[in-house]
Subunit: 329 residues, 2 copies
Amino acid sequence: MARTTMEDVAKAAGVSRALVSLAYRNASGVSESTRARILSTGNQIGYVHNRIAASLASTKPASIGVFLQDLHNDFFADVYDGIREIAEPKARQLVLSVGSRNHDRDASSLGTLEGAQVGTIIAAGLRMADSDALAHSQRTPLIAIARHIPGVDSVYSDNVFGGQLATEHLLQLGHRRIVFLANPPTDGYLGRREGYETSMLEAGLKPRVIESTYARSDAAEIATELLADTEAPTAIFAHNDQAALGVLDALAARSLVPGQDVSVIGYDNSSVSNTPGTALTSIDLHALELGREATRLALRRFENPDLEPQLVTSTPSLVLRATTGPVST
Amino acid sequence: MARTTMEDVAKAAGVSRALVSLAYRNASGVSESTRARILSTGNQIGYVHNRIAASLASTKPASIGVFLQDLHNDFFADVYDGIREIAEPKARQLVLSVGSRNHDRDASSLGTLEGAQVGTIIAAGLRMADSDALAHSQRTPLIAIARHIPGVDSVYSDNVFGGQLATEHLLQLGHRRIVFLANPPTDGYLGRREGYETSMLEAGLKPRVIESTYARSDAAEIATELLADTEAPTAIFAHNDQAALGVLDALAARSLVPGQDVSVIGYDNSSVSNTPGTALTSIDLHALELGREATRLALRRFENPDLEPQLVTSTPSLVLRATTGPVST
DNA sequence: TTGTAGGCGTTATCAC
DNA sequence: GTGATAACGCCTACAA
């Protein structure tokens, strides 16, 4: 059976095909009553608006591409909620693309979105160099979330400040041997590390940075080694909540109590960090708001593609929970 | 500037447009060397294969639609991983659609996928009546995950068995006042409740079912009321992990220790349940495998659309953690 | 391998 | 509001 088309709807409703088209786009030029009639008869004969054909024929792209690094990280779910909240009322279709475990494939994820002819791409957690992202944005406008890419629309969260916030919180609790579990250096969130180092140096302490990944298990392994050390840290600052959970795993395995024996602070304030029993102290990125702002930027760029690169800055805040406490004597 | 098309690539590479088309679909009829040459020149002049146009022109749909109920629930992320694992090597593009907070909109989520002209839809966590899902599957083949819809391809997990598994675990620990925090009756996962009731009746006990939602906060509220009761339950079986977390929230607020003061068991064995400190006892649905099987069904249906409705059954298992323990005297 | 003709289901435009 | 026609960028089929 051939798919039912607008032609069929037009015949069934006794109107022209052009009118059906207008009705389904709820464009002006159709009276509300006939619009309703058309849609209902379309519904009856089982017609669904073919977005593929529509998108091909339309001169201007209508959809927004969304890249999310990882579906297992609640932070990105929050971001998505924020995006949807703004995009939906504007009838902008969202096309999703999810990152893979290995960084290199983020580029092909963006390629998928380009292939879907999205007008703009909102990218949360993109793991590629600034220069590559910039190159991509030349083809399809990009909007970076939680990161500032020069020349690219960015909804930035002040990572340096966040890094300082976390570090100074630990310093005030009396910690001196504070380790930073760093994110991979490719990902553009280097500010967190910078903030950590700045605060440590200002306090006259020597920073100790150990590189980790996004995998919780990797963080757990590293933490296990750290804790076995004679110079074991009294506090660990993880580059994100996922990694912090890994650290907590390691503590649990040694029956150490977070916040008492060792302090742990994460970054993102994702929902898991608020799990009862976990109660992870974290830096709140305000993910929802980041998503909203990015979408507002995207809409603005639809209207005016030649706008200067936009920059929105958001300031993270400290969320105190149970995993940080005074240094144990 | 007009988008670069296959025409441009053909000119630049000095070949015919038809050959470029074959090259990008990596179909046969192009030698490996010229294929490589075409792709590289295409890359140089900034061409991206327009999937929209391709999909419109192609007679057979190539993409798989994926509906995920909730990005905040890690279970669905696991399912997605399983889907991708199978779909990617087959070069099947995945089109995602995420459910909204209110159930009624699941239908329109499916509509979005149909509009994208997917050949098949894998739906995880669909909240609609069997009859509605069946009607939908008439238009675009549907594959239901973790649920059996008569007449629709289903990768089913034995919910009745899972419900019994959870209940009997609690019974063996000596619990008698066991409450089931039920899922909304519309969602097709009623087997969990049925299993609970069966096991309770077999043990000569009176089932006590209280209806809840998918929201963690709702579960927390209900649990708070329950615990204040004079006939407070000694164990609570929640219809999924999200709801179980809500129960744990309620316990934490009253400084009750899960597994000691009150036992709590969830359902899904999502990654959060494995969070250190949470350690939620749960029923494992084997999400990853569910996703894999669903995708295998989808591929099979692409090959043979007239297949009888397929049914794959998977058996859940109990994962013991810290939130269940012997009834306190 | 090439070239060409035809079509996929819409949108865009214009005269009516 | 109606028709009719020309795109949109690609796939399909076929003849060369």
